[in-house]
C-alpha cells in the first residue's frame, strides 16, 4: 500500500518534471545539482568498495571450494574431515552479498565524510588480494578520495548556502504565515508597504484591524513587521496566487499604493475580478489614470500630488481646523480620531433620542454632528435629536470609545426601557 503510494507519487513528480522542460528547471537550481552529485559519488563509492570486498569473498570461497574438492577426493574421510566438509558447505551456501554492500556503504560514508575510522578492506581483505588487486585498490582509493572530497565540498557549500539563504526557513515561515492569514476575516490588503503604505498600515493597526501587506520589491521597515496584526507576504508568486494567499475572498478592503501606474492598475483589476464586494482604493500615478482605475473596479482613486496640494492649500483656507486635526493625528498619547458611526437598518436605537440613549455618559463620545442620508449636516444635535436610519454620527473618539458607542447603539432598546421605568 505504502510503496504503491510512493510509486504513484514519484510517477506524478516525474511527469511534472518531464513536462515543459521540467528537468532543465530542476537542474538549474544548484541544490539539485549538488544532490545529484552526492548521489553519484555515493553510488561510485559503494560500487568500488563492493568490487574489492566481494573480491575477498570470491577468493575465500574459491579457497574453500578447492579444499572441498580435496576433501571429496578422500576415499574414507575421518570424522574431523566430515565435520569440516559440512562446515565448508554451509559457508559456501551462505549469502554474503548484503554484508558486502553494507560494508561498502560503511567504507564509502567514512571516506567521503573524511571521518576515516578504519580501512576495513586493508585490514581484512588485503591478505587475500594479489599484488595486482592491491595496486588497483590503492589507485582507486586515491582517486576516489580526491574526487569525493571535492564533490563533498561543493555539496556542503551549496547546502549551507541553501540553509543560510533560508529558503527552507522562509518556506516554513511562509507556511505558518499563510495559516495565520487564512484565519483572518474582514481584513484589509495593502500592496506597497513603504512610504504612504506605512502610514496607512499604521492607521489600520491603530484601530485594531488586521492588515495583510504585499510588496513587489521593497520591504516594510522592521518596526512595522513586528506590529501585532500585520502580516507581510513577500511577493514571490504570481499576482493571482499572492492575492489568493492574502485571503482576498474574505477581505473587506484593498489598497494599492505601488509606485508605478501599471502595477496598480493590474492589481486593482485582479482584485476586483476575484472579489466583487471588495472596497478598492488605488493610487493613480498621474490624474489621467483615475478614470482607467475606475473602469477596472476601483471604488476610489486619488493622485498623490493632488492630496498633497489640497493639504497645503487647506491650511490657508481654514488654518484653525487644520491645526486642530493635525494635532489630533500627531498626538501619540491620546490616540483619538474623528470617527463615524452609521446607524444601520434595523438598529434598535432608531427612533430614540440622543438624550434617551445617554451616549455621552456611557461611551464618553461626544457627538458633534450628524450627517443625514442626503449628506446634510446637523451640527450640534441636541439631546432631543431623534435617530433615523442611515444617520451618520460624528464624534472624536479613541478606538475603544467607538466600540463602546457601537455597543450602546446596538442594544438601544434595553437602555430605553430602563430609562422609561
Amino acid at each position: 500500500m505504502f510503496i504503491w503510494k510512493i510509486r504513484r507519487r514519484s510517477r506524478h513528480i516525474l511527469r511534472k518534471l518531464t513536462r515543459g522542460g521540467g528537468f532543465a528547471v530542476f537542474f538549474s537550481s544548484k541544490i539539485a545539482v549538488a544532490l545529484t552529485l552526492f548521489v553519484l559519488v555515493m553510488t561510485t563509492g559503494v560500487t568500488g568498495f563492493l568490487i574489492f570486498t566481494s573480491h575477498k569473498t570470491d577468493v575465500v570461497k574459491s579457497n574453500l571450494t578447492n579444499r572441498l574438492e580435496e576433501l571429496q577426493a578422500v576415499d574414507i574421510p575421518t570424522e574431523e574431515e566430515i565435520s569440516e566438509k559440512a562446515q565448508i558447505e554451509m559457508m559456501l551456501d551462505e549469502d554474503t552479498f548484503l554484508g558486502e554492500v553494507l560494508l561498502a556503504g560503511y567504507m564509502t560514508s567514512i571516506t567521503i565524510t573524511t571521518v576515516g575510522f578504519d580501512d576495513v578492506v586493508r585490514d581484512y581483505a588485503y591478505e587475500f588480494m594479489s599484488e595486482k588487486w592491491r595496486r588497483a585498490y590503492n589507485i582507486w582509493v586515491t582517486l576516489f578520495v580526491i574526487i569525493a572530497y571535492m564533490v563533498i565540498l561543493y555539496v556542503n557549500a551549496n547546502f549551507v548556502a541553501y540553509l543560510v539563504g533560508s529558503r527552507l526557513a522562509e518556506t516554513m515561515k511562509r507556511r505558518s504565515l499563510l495559516k495565520a492569514v487564512s484565519r483572518l476575516n474582514d481584513h484589509y490588503i495593502i500592496c506597497g508597504c513603504t512610504g504612504a503604505g506605512t502610514v496607512v498600515i499604521n492607521e489600520f493597526l491603530r484601530v485594531g484591524i488586521p492588515v495583510v501587506g504585499i510588496d513587489t520589491d521593497d520591504y516594510p521597515s522592521p518596526d512595522l513587521r513586528k506590529r501585532k496584526g500585520f502580516y507581510y507576504l513577500p511577493q514571490d508568486r504570481s499576482d493571482e496566487i499572492m492575492l489568493n494567499d492574502a485571503g482576498i475572498h474574505r477581505a473587506k478592503g484593498f489598497v494599492t499604493v505601488l509606485p508605478d501606474a501599471s502595477s496598480n492598475l493590474y492589481l486593482t483589476l485582479s482584485a476586483h475580478l476575484q472579489n466583487d464586494n471588495l472596497r478598492i482604493i488605488s493610487r493613480a500615478v498621474g490624474s489621467e489614470n483615475e478614470s482607467k482605475l475606475a473602469l477596472v473596479g476601483a471604488d476610489s482613486s486619488f493622485t498623490p500630488s493632488v492630496a498633497v496640494g489640497k493639504n497645503l492649500v487647506a491650511d490657508l483656507l481654514n488654518q484653525d481646523t487644520m491645526d486642530f486635526l493635525e494635532r489630533m493625528i500627531g498626538d501619540q498619547e491620546q490616540n483619538c480620531r474623528m470617527e463615524e458611526y452609521t446607524v444601520q437598518k434595523g438598529c434598535p436605537s432608531i427612533g430614540a433620542t440622543l438624550g434617551e440613549l445617554d451616549l455621552g455618559r456611557i461611551s464618553g463620545a461626544r457627538i458633534f454632528a450628524v450627517m443625514k442620508v442626503d449628506r446634510d449636516i446637523v451640527y450640534n444635535p441636541g439631546y432631543g435629536y431623534t435617530l433615523e436610519e442611515g444617520d451618520i454620527l460624528l464624534a472624536i473618539e479613541s478606538p475603544e470609545q467607538l466600540q463602546a458607542l457601537a455597543r450602546v447603539l446596538e442594544r438601544g432598546k434595553r437602555i430605553r426601557m430602563r430609562k422609561s421605568r
Binding site: 489598497v255 482604493i281 496640494g309 497645503l312 487647506a314 486642530f324
Partner: protein, 252 residues
C-alpha cells in the same frame, strides 16, 4: 476668508512639479492671486491652461534675485515645493530673510527636514507620505468623515465652522466641571475637545472635566453658537439659583 479677501492674498508657488501644479490649481479655485517660479520653461508653459491668471517668473528660485523679481517682498504666502528637502530648507530660509511676514508652506519627505523647515520659519510642512496615507485610511475606514471635513475646510460659505472659545480670565465659570456648566443642555453646543493652557489637548472631555482660566473649548458651530457659549461662561455664579437665572437669559 471671503472670496474678495482671497484675491488680495498674494501667493507664490516655487517649483512646478505635479504637486506644484495641483497647488496652483487649488489656489486658483479659491481665487487667490498666484504667481509661480520655475527654471524650466516647459513647466511654465503648462501654466497657460490657467489663462493668464498666473504671473510667471523664470529662474532659479534658490537665488535671492529671482525671489526679488517674483515679488517675494510684498507677497503673503510662499509655497516651497522643490523636489528635495535641502532645497526646500534653503528656499524657506532665503524667503524668510527677504520677507519676515511671509507665511511659508513646504513639503518635506523626511521627518528631520520637517523640524529644520519649522526652525527656518515655515508655518507648516506637509509630508507627502502622511498626506496620502491618512487620506487613504480615512477614505477606507471613515468615508463620511472625509466628506464632512471637505465641507468644513473647503466650502466657501458655510454656516458652521471650527470654534475655539477661550475661557476669559476672571470668568466666574472657571474651575467648574463641564457637566456643571451644562453648555450642551443650554446652548446646544457640543464641546469636542479642550485645549489646556499648556497647549495639551483633551479630546471628548468627560462631564467631570474641570475647566480653568485660559483653557479653550473647541467645537463646531456658527458664530452665534460661539457667542452664546461666551455669554454663558461670563454669567455670574450663583450656585443655588444659577440655572433658573441662566435659562431665563436664554429664553429671551
Amino acid at each position: 476668508m471671503t472670496a474678495s479677501g482671497n484675491s488680495q492674498t498674494k501667493c507664490i508657488v516655487c517649483g512646478l512639479g505635479e504637486t506644484g501644479i495641483c497647488v496652483v490649481r487649488e489656489l486658483l479655485d479659491h481665487e487667490f492671486s498666484v504667481s509661480v517660479i520655475d527654471r524650466d520653461p516647459e513647466a511654465l508653459e503648462r501654466m497657460q491652461e490657467f489663462k493668464q491668471n498666473v504671473a510667471v517668473t523664470e529662474g532659479n528660485c534658490l537665488l535671492d534675485s529671482t525671489l526679488q523679481d517674483a515679488g517675494v517682498p510684498d507677497a503673503d504666502v510662499l509655497y516651497s515645493i522643490l523636489p528635495d528637502d535641502r532645497s526646500n530648507v534653503f528656499l524657506s530660509l532665503s524667503a524668510r530673510r527677504i520677507n519676515p511676514q511671509l507665511r511659508i508652506y513646504s513639503i518635506a519627505s523626511d521627518p528631520s527636514a520637517e523640524k529644520k523647515l519649522e526652525l527656518v520659519g515655515a508655518r507648516k510642512t506637509v509630508n507627502p507620505n502622511n498626506a496620502e496615507g491618512f487620506r487613504i485610511s480615512n477614505e477606507m475606514l471613515r468615508p463620511n468623515v472625509v466628506v464632512f471635513l471637505d465641507q468644513i475646510v473647503y466650502a466657501r460659505h458655510n454656516a458652521a465652522r471650527y470654534l475655539n472659545i477661550r475661557i476669559p480670565e476672571g470668568s466666574p465659570s472657571a474651575g467648574l466641571s463641564l457637566s456643571r456648566l451644562e453648555i450642551q443642555k443650554i446652548t446646544g453646543v457640543v464641546i469636542i475637545a479642550v485645549r489646556r493652557i499648556d497647549r495639551s489637548m483633551v479630546y471628548s472631555p468627560s462631564g467631570d472635566f474641570r475647566t480653568n482660566e485660559g483653557d479653550s473649548l473647541i467645537a463646531f458651530g456658527t458664530k452665534e453658537d460661539s457667542d452664546a457659549v461666551l455669554k454663558l461662561l461670563s454669567l455670574e455664579q450663583d450656585r443655588k439659583h444659577r440655572w433658573k437665572g441662566v435659562r431665563n437669559v436664554f429664553r429671551k
